[in-house]
C-alpha cells in the first residue's frame, strides 16, 4: 500500500537506523519537504525513544564515575589551543590565509603560541606592523564561541576568525555587523566548516577604525539588511586600556 510519492514504508527502518546510506539520504531529503512523512516519522521516532525503556537495566560499577571524572580532568589538562604543537595552528588559519590580504598573511605568520594564548585570555594584542588582533566573546546563545578581528594598520584591511560557533540549519549563515553611533552595517556574510570554525575577510568602504563594536548574528543565507537573528559573538573593537605590546 505504499505511495510512490512518499517514503512511509521506509520510515520504520529509517528511525531505527536500518537503511542503507543511499536510502537514508533519500528519506532525509524527502522529509525536508513532506509534512505527511515527517509527521509519521515523528510518531515512529517516539516509539524508537520508548524502546530504550525496554533495555534490561544493569547497574554500572561504582568506580566508573570516578574514572569518568579523572578522564575529563585529564582531557582538560591536555586541552591545547589551536596553535599548539601537534595541532598546527597554521592549519587552522589556512582558510583565512586565502581570504585575508597579503599583509595580514605575513603578520599572522609571525604569531606564536603565546600570542594565541593571550588572545584566548581576551587580551587585545598588537602585532608587528601595527596590526591589531581583538578577541571577541560568545554570548548566552553560544557560550563556547570564540573569535577575533584582525585589523590592519590603516584600518582598511580586516579579517574575522571564529571558532566553536553553533551549527546552523540549512538556509542560514552568520553575518558580521559593524556598529558605530547606533548605526549598523554589514561587514561580511559567512559560513563555518563542519568543525564550526571559519574565517572571512571584512569588506567595508570606511576604515574599521571608525567603528566601536562588532556583532555576529545568525541570519538567512545571503544575509539580511539588518540583524534579525540571535547574536552569538561580539565585542568592542577597541579597548585602549587593554592594549599591550607583544613581547615576541
Amino acid at each position: 500500500m505504499s505511495d510512490n510519492t512518499h517514503v512511509l514504508d521506509l520510515l520504520p527502518a529509517y528511525v531505527l537506523g536500518g537503511l542503507e546510506a543511499d536510502e537514508a539520504s533519500h528519506v532525509e531529503r524527502h522529509l525536508l519537504s513532506c509534512l505527511i512523512c515527517r509527521t509519521k516519522a515523528n510518531a515512529l521516532q517516539n516509539v524508537n525513544e520508548q524502546l530504550s525503556f525496554a533495555v534490561p537495566t544493569v547497574t554500572p560499577p561504582s568506580d566508573l564515575k570516578n574514572r569518568l571524572m579523572q578522564r575529563v580532568q585529564a582531557a582538560r589538562l591536555q586541552q591545547m589551543p589551536p596553535s599548539a604543537p601537534g595541532r598546527s595552528w597554521q592549519e587552522r588559519f589556512l582558510p583565512v590565509w586565502g581570504i585575508a590580504s597579503l599583509a595580514l598573511i605575513v603578520i599572522l605568520a609571525a604569531f606564536n603560541l603565546a600570542l594565541w594564548q593571550r588572545l584566548n585570555q581576551l587580551e587585545v594584542v598588537t602585532a608587528p606592523g601595527g596590526m591589531v588582533a581583538i578577541p571577541l566573546s560568545g554570548t548566552g546563545e553560544a557560550p563556547s564561541a570564540t573569535g577575533f578581528i584582525i585589523i590592519g594598520v590603516d584600518g582598511r584591511n580586516g579579517a574575522l576568525v571564529v571558532d566553536r560557533l553553533p551549527p546552523l540549519d540549512n538556509g542560514q549563515q552568520y553575518q558580521l555587523w559593524l556598529v558605530r553611533d547606533g548605526r549598523i552595517i554589514s561587514g561580511a556574510v559567512f559560513s563555518t566548516d563542519e568543525e564550526n570554525y571559519g574565517g572571512t575577510r571584512i569588506e567595508v568602504s570606511e576604515s574599521l577604525l571608525e567603528y566601536s563594536s562588532v556583532d555576529v548574528t545568525i541570519e538567512p543565507s545571503g544575509g539580511s539588511p539588518q540583524p534579525t537573528g540571535a547574536k552569538v559573538l561580539g565585542g568592542p573593537l577597541f579597548a585602549p586600556k587593554f592594549l599591550i605590546t607583544p613581547s615576541g
Binding site: 520504520p12 529509517y14 528511525v15 537503511l19 539520504s25 522529509l31 520508548q50 525496554a54
Partner: protein, 212 residues
Amino acid sequence: MKSSIDDAQYDDERLISLIAQSREDALSQLYDRYSYLVFSIAVAIVDDRSTAEEITLDVFVRVWQKSGSYRADRAKVRTWLTHIARHHAIDVLRRQSTKLDSYTISWDGVSSSATLSAQDPQELTELSQRREHVRAAISRLPEDQKQALALAYYGGLTQLEIAEALKQPLGTIKTRLRLAMQKLCDLLQDEQELVDTSIEAVPAYSMNRDDS
C-alpha cells in the same frame, strides 16, 4: 565562586547548558541520572561489561566535548544520550568484527535490581510504569517481528543485513519491521501523548554525524 548544583533545581537541558560551560558538577549530575541507561544499552549491544564500561566512559566524555552542539528543539537529552550510546556501542561491535549470533539477540533480559534515577519520586514512578508498559507492548509482538526489531535496535543491522542473517527475503524483513513499529506505535499511543510532540523527528543519520 560557582555554587555546586542543587539536585532539585536543574532539568536535563539546563545541565547540558552548564556542561557546555565546562561545569564538571553538571556532568557529574548528568552521569548520576543516566549512567544506568547508557551502561545498560552498551551491555545489551556488546554483551561484555568491560567493553560496556569503556563505551559508557566514551559516551559521557563525548557529551562533555559536544554539549555545545546539543539542540533541545531536536531531541530530549535522554533521546540524545540514547542515540550516542547506541550508535557508539554498535560501532564498537562492528570494529570488533564480532560475528553476530542472530539467535541470541533478543528483548529478553535479566530483570535487574538497578534503580532508575529520577529527580523526584513522581518521576521515578512514571519511569517505572513506562518501562513496564513498553516491555509489555514488545512482548505482544510476534516472535519474528521481535527478532527483526532486536537485530535492528541492538545489533545495528540494516534491513539487508537482517535479511542475510536470517536468510529471509528482504521484503519479508521490511514487512516485519514495519508491522512491529506500527504495532508499537498503536500500543504506546498513550505514552506518545506524554511526549512532547513538538520535538522534530531527528534523522538518525544526521544525529550520527553530530555525534562523530
